[in-house]
Amino acid sequence: MSALCGYRRPAPGTQPSHLHPAYRSSVLRAPKQPLIYLPQTLSEITGPSITRERIDPKACDLTHQHAGEPLGERIVVSGRVIDEDNRPVSNSLVEIWQANSAGRYLHRWDQHDAPLDPNFSGVGHTRTDDQGRYRFLTIRPGAYPWKNDYNSWRPAHIHFSLFGPAFATRLVTQMYFPGDPLLAFDPIFNCTADEDARQRLISAFDWETTTPGQALGFRFDIVLSGREATPMETPQSHR
């Protein structure tokens, strides 16, 4: 086996700490012991690949999963998945889930007093193409109240889950909408020290993907860890 390169560690301030007291759920769930630094091995630089056969080609359209059309503002959410060196992350699974236009999730624990939409489940997946591009057609999610503090509201967001090429590149994040007044008050959005890193979680309104007469376009590019320039030490390189 030739020498393998690991994946880069995050730049300071660009990823949240586990404990973020303003986000109350982190208080009893964030570990208190320091994490143990583990050099990446074959176990971390390999990772799962969800094969093409498992992908439902219709799962990228969240507006046609039921008999009727969902209520709300139709939007196209698209972008590229790239690594820190601008290389496309191709043929990789992207999963999303979200609230409906009234701010209600189709989940038995969501007790928000807002209507469910029988025509909207709020779940989708797709695979990036050879250029790392993905595209979903969905409904703009609503904001909703949550029990973090007195009168807490989550800004409208879509959850994203990505694998990339390795265990070390796994990422779950949330996409927000430009100009949302709730962003300034949201402890989850504000969990990261680096202002630019926070701003990159906000999608951009995009004329290019806005479909005439049908849907507004929002662009959200996602960056996964890039490769180290120097090969890691491998057993094979010692032979």
Partner: protein
């Protein structure tokens, strides 16, 4: 110009909506060769309370210590029907349970093989980033020379090793997010 990886955000309480479709209780189909194990346990918070909204993801090699991944170019056979990936949620009582095969030893640093292990990501509401840990196997002599275990203080090492339950092939392993018996979590990157 190089960029920075996108900031991680929590899966939140309703992740099942989006991620449940890939959940599966048995990661290895019946024709996949290898020693069968069933691993079960609980995810617990800092007050010992059950975490009913956690998700575990497992990544592992096959019985020969080979990963189903193009960058594992070891000259070893690979069973085409085994992806090495599993995803399992906790239930209302914070329990999880999955069946798989015990992996073989895979290469580690310094030209030495690692002890058989599963790599694990833990996601839940309250975790802004996933937690990464490993599951090792009880009674495995190679645990004594495993490089990752050797990075861990001996008093905490047992949190990474599943326990025998007395029933053949049935192992117990818990994820304790906080507290005196807190599980060891590793920093592997994002």
């Amino acid at each position: 110009m190089s960029r920075h990886a996108t900031t991680s955000q929590t899966v939140g309480p309703f992740y099942a909506l989006g991620l449940e479709w890939l959940c599966c209780g048995d990661f290895a189909a019946s024709d996949v060769p290898g020693e069968r194990v069933v691993i079960s346990g609980k995810v617990l918070d800092g007050e010992g309370g059950a975490v009913p909204d956690a998700l575990l993801e497992i990544w592992q090699a096959d019985e020969h210590g080979k990963y189903a991944h193009p960058e594992d170019t070891q000259n070893r056979p690979l069973h085409a029907g085994f992806s090495g990936f599993g995803r399992v949620p906790t239930d209302d009582d914070g329990h999880f349970r999955f069946g798989t095969i015990k992996p073989g030893r895979v290469p580690g640093p310094g030209g030495r093989l690692q002890a058989p292990h599963l790599v694990v990501s833990v996601f839940c509401r309250g975790l802004l980033r996933r937690l990464v840990t490993r599951i090792y196997f009880p009674g495995e002599e190679s645990n004594a020379e495993d490089f990752a275990l050797s990075l861990v203080d001996e008093s905490r090492r047992q949190t990474l090793i599943a326990k025998e339950t007395g029933k053949e092939g049935a192992l117990a392993w818990n994820v304790i997010l906080q507290g005196p018996s807190e599980t060891v979590f590793f920093d592997v990157g994002v």
